[in-house]
């Protein structure tokens, strides 16, 4: 059984259909990359999985359970964590505090009100280990707004990882990054536990082909093709419409 299964998903904004009866099946531990031109509906798809956007119809199954209708916080608790294409962080708080907030939510300590937050050592040390994982250890006490854009992208991933997800959704994690930072991000995704399922939207073909087990091409809200990197490269329609520009 696939970990994340999307069945006949449909959503429109007025007359603009952004998700046209999408079917997708993503297995456990798979690294699945979604590509497609701007406006293809990639972010909208992630928003529907994450609970930020309500689908018009269809089903989204996580381990066989339909999660449609769950609020974003319920989706996270079900085991799906996401990042945002546009940095969506606590810009005025410190980096470690960002992570601490996410860890304490996942550990169910959010409602605790009799002890100082900083005295909860288990949460603090988990936050610190994620800090190291996303390579921000030198920046823990800085305010997020003082970080470079690329560092903020790393924190985006850190916040999602703090949710201990089964499925990690990354919306263009390398956008706006320098080549060195992009290489770091590839390494970070590679280093994730193999059983973690990763769905990633990506534009950089180098990143796509160095990480993907399978690729889905979205075009005007429709799935144009799904398959291994080789199959996608060989697909005539994809070459025509999407990769065509490179010829």
């Amino acid at each position: 059984m696939s970990t994340l299964q999307i069945e006949d998903l449909y959503r429109s904004f007025g007359s603009l259909v952004v998700t046209q009866h999408v079917n997708l099946s993503i297995g456990a531990g798979e690294r699945h990359v979604i590509i497609g031109p701007n406006g293809a509906g990639k972010t909208s798809l992630i928003n529907q999985i994450g609970g930020q956007l309500r689908p018009g119809s269809g089903r989204i199954l996580l381990d066989g359970v339909n999660i449609i209708g769950q609020a974003p916080e319920q989706v996270l608790r079900s085991g799906i964590a996401r990042t945002f294409q546009k940095n969506n962080l606590f810009f005025n708080l410190s980096v470690i505090e960002n992570l601490r907030l996410a860890v304490q939510a996942r550990r169910g300590n959010g409602l605790q009100c009799f002890r100082p937050a900083r005295s909860l050592t288990a949460i603090m040390s988990r936050a610190e280990s994620i800090l190291a994982q996303v390579k921000l250890d030198a920046n823990g006490s800085r305010a997020v707004r003082e970080l470079s854009y690329g560092e903020q992208r790393q924190l985006e991933v850190g916040l999602a990882l703090a949710g201990d997800p089964k499925v990690l959704l990354l919306d263009e994690p390398t956008s706006g990054m320098s080549p060195a930072e992009t290489a770091g991000m590839i390494e970070l995704v590679r280093s994730l536990p193999r059983e973690l399922t990763v769905v990633m939207i990506e534009h950089d073909m180098h990143v796509v082909f160095s990480l993907a087990d399978r690729i889905t091409v979205l075009y005007y809200g429709e799935v144009l093709a799904t398959g291994t990197p080789q199959e996608i490269q060989d697909n005539e329609r994809v070459r025509e419409i999407y990769l065509g520009a490179r010829h």
């Binding site: 945002f84 546009k86 962080l89 606590f90 810009f91 505090e97 996410a102 937050a117």
Partner: protein, 650 residues
């Protein structure tokens, strides 16, 4: 004469008057995203200026021409020199700025024309009555209807048919788009603001013969106009029109047939509409949450020794102070302690959780009334009263919060305002229990350890103790995981949800805790004052406490304490030798909103810590009160700008 017809007529006339204010308010909100609390003041100003012109010239028609022109001039000054500077800041700052102006205009009108009700006679040509379909109608009221309808028609024609109207409508949807149509945005804003003021002033002039003139007529037209806009939909002219007719007629029939409930009727109408259709009947901008509401950035800075020494000295001084001063000063400072608790409780919502409540006085009043009513009617001891008041207000806050926290931004502000006005109406109408507008008192104060609270020095130490307790408790709360979650919601609610917080629950908790503490402050106020009247629940009381919080610095704990001290000292000192304390408070408050958005504490704290105040837009931060996560303090400023989520619309 057919009684229904007469009521209908009354309703329509009142509706027309409301429309003139509401239409402008709605356009201004729609285009500029500003809720102008000063709009009622322009209505009042229009009426009084007309009164002055008529007294000089005896010519009503001349007044109808001159008064709106003068009022528009005043309005343009407000827009050009004050509001325009705040366009890039949060909406709350603009709301508060206009609130400051209501003080200034109120005081100006009261000192020029006095507090008595004045009458303005309708023009001679419109005196008398006309017989029409089954009844006699006052000529002037018929004129009002025709005049209002004509203005509505003109307004509609301008908005729908002219190029200018197209720009305004485009601007309501998206100011970028209006710029695309070639609109000069600042000029467009000024124009719409001016037009809105003109409508309000005209409304004031034509209303004067029907409603009379008195300081306070500003609030009496403003609140119903809000309700109209909420019902009709923000930024929609058609909505304002339909809304005014609904409210006008509901009000007229309510007054005639269920006088006991007439005040609630329109608030209930509003609450129901907000819940069922938050975007209003024809809403364009409906439930959108202006995310720019985020209050100042609060980061931490390590509590230096210096801070601790100063804190110890201040505490010592406060502890010795009552031994050295006469009773009236003890009383004054006791009042400050009570309001400091109240202000801190609001700051938990406003400054820490980002919930801009404009109805917090409701909980304060509920606490005060509980203690006094239980004491007066059942002879219950004041302390027992407080013990009952706190859970009762917590319950009320949980109930009201349940409805309010589902909205945000301006809608939240209006909904909390409506609920507190509902409580006000109850206090006002339920005479048997609350004493109505006369208020109600208790014969004597309770004791504590054998000392009577009627001794100012005892009262001083009791309120001081409670204030300290609240401060320490809130400080611990804010340092706890729960407190950090509140701050996270203030900073970025959508991300909080994405990392797993049921933010609705958290906001409800914050609202309930804040409400309960306000109830405690109210209960102490009852013991302090021995008397309570509906004013403590009035929306302007909620405004006062907002001022105290913003004045001192929202998002800090000492800020509100300082703010309430400044506010009450000023009110006391200034009013003892000068009647214009409202004017002065208004001006100071306007200055604070404009130039010290971090509040007095924001500036002071950076001084104490030996740093220069940070540069604009948000000076100041707090020592050890924000989230301290490391020893290097991120200093400075939150962008007032909104944080939007990529495509995160439901």
């Amino acid at each position: 004469m057919d009684i229904y017809l007469a009521q209908l007529m009354n309703g329509l006339v009142y509706g027309m008057l409301l429309f003139l204010t509401a239409a402008g308010l709605s356009l201004i909100f729609g285009l500029m995203n500003v809720v102008s609390l000063a709009h009622g003041s322009f209505f009042m100003l229009g009426a009084y200026l007309a009164f002055a012109v008529v007294r000089e010239t005896g010519n009503y028609w001349l007044a109808l021409l001159i008064s709106p022109c003068l009022t528009v001039l005043v309005g343009l000054v407000v827009e050009r020199f004050f509001m325009r500077r705040l366009y890039r800041r949060g909406h709350l700052d603009q709301v508060l700025l206009t609130f400051g102006f209501t003080f200034v205009f109120f005081d100006a009108v009261r000192s020029i024309w006095g507090s008595d009700i004045r009458k303005l006679a309708p023009p001679v040509s419109l005196e008398g009555s006309i017989a029409l379909v089954g009844g006699m109608f006052s000529t002037y009221r018929l004129f009002l209807l025709a005049f209002g309808a004509l203005l509505a028609l003109i307004l509609w024609a301008v908005m729908e048919k002219s190029r200018l109207g197209a720009m305004v409508r485009a601007g309501v949807d998206d100011s970028q788009m209006a710029a695309g149509l070639g609109a000069n945005i600042p000029a467009l804003f000024s124009g719409v603001f001016g037009a809105g003021v003109a409508l309000a002033a005209i409304g004031g002039v034509v209303a004067a013969p029907v409603l009379g003139l008195y300081p306070g007529m500003d609030g009496d037209i403003l609140i119903p106009s809000f309700i109209v806009i909420v019902i009709g939909g923000m930024g929609s002219l058609r909505g304002a029109f339909v809304g005014t007719l609904l409210v006008g007629i509901a009000d007229a029939f309510g007054k005639a047939y269920v006088p006991a409930l007439s005040l609630f009727l329109i608030y209930l109408l509003m609450a129901v509409f907000l819940l069922v259709r938050p975007q209003g009947l024809f809403g364009i901008k409906g439930g959108v949450a202006p995310a720019g509401m985020v209050v100042a950035a609060r980061a931490a800075l390590s509590a230096t020794l210096r801070v601790k020494v100063i804190a110890a000295l201040v505490l010592l001084a406060l502890a010795c102070y009552p031994l050295l001063v006469p009773d009236y000063q003890r009383t004054l400072v006791s009042e400050i302690f009570v309001f400091a608790i109240f202000a801190m409780s609001l700051d938990l919502l406003l400054g820490y959780t980002g919930l801009p409540s404009f109805g917090h006085a409701g909980f304060f009043g509920l606490g005060a009334y509980t203690v006094i009513v239980l004491g007066a009617l059942f002879g219950l001891n004041g302390w027992t009263g407080v013990l009952i008041a706190v859970p009762l207000t917590a319950l009320a806050a949980a109930l009201i919060g349940f409805f309010c926290v589902r909205t945000s931004g301006i809608t939240f502000l209006m909904l909390t305002l409506a609920f507190s006005q509902l409580l006000y109406s109850i206090a006002f109408k339920w005479r048997d229990v609350t004493g109505g507008s006369d208020g109600i008192g208790i014969p004597d104060r309770p004791n504590i350890f054998g000392w009577s609270l009627s001794e100012p020095i005892v009262m001083y130490y009791v309120t001081f103790g409670f204030c300290l307790l609240c401060y320490v408790g809130l400080r611990r709360l804010i340092a706890s995981p729960l407190g950090h979650a509140f701050i996270g919601i203030r900073e970025n609610e959508s991300r909080m949800r994405a990392i797993g917080y049921s933010t609705g629950l958290y906001k409800l908790l914050s609202f309930t805790i804040g409400g309960a503490l306000a109830g405690l402050a109210g209960g102490l106020y009852a013991l302090f004052n021995g008397f309570v009247s509906p004013e403590v629940l009035h929306w302007s009381a909620s405004g006062d406490i907002l001022i105290m919080v913003m004045l001192g610095g929202a998002g800090t704990l000492l800020g509100p304490v300082l703010g309430s001290a400044i506010f009450l000292l000023m009110k006391n000192l200034v009013s003892s030798y000068n009647d214009h304390w409202m004017m002065i408070i208004g001006i100071i408050f306007i200055a604070c909103v404009m130039f010290f958005p971090g509040g007095v504490w924001g500036i002071l704290s950076s001084r104490i810590a030996g740093r220069k105040p940070d540069s604009p837009p948000r000076p100041g931060t707090t020592p050890a009160e924000g989230i301290a996560s490391g020893d290097k303090a991120p200093t400075g400023a939150a962008p007032g700008a909104s944080m939007t989520v990529d495509g995160a619309a439901r």
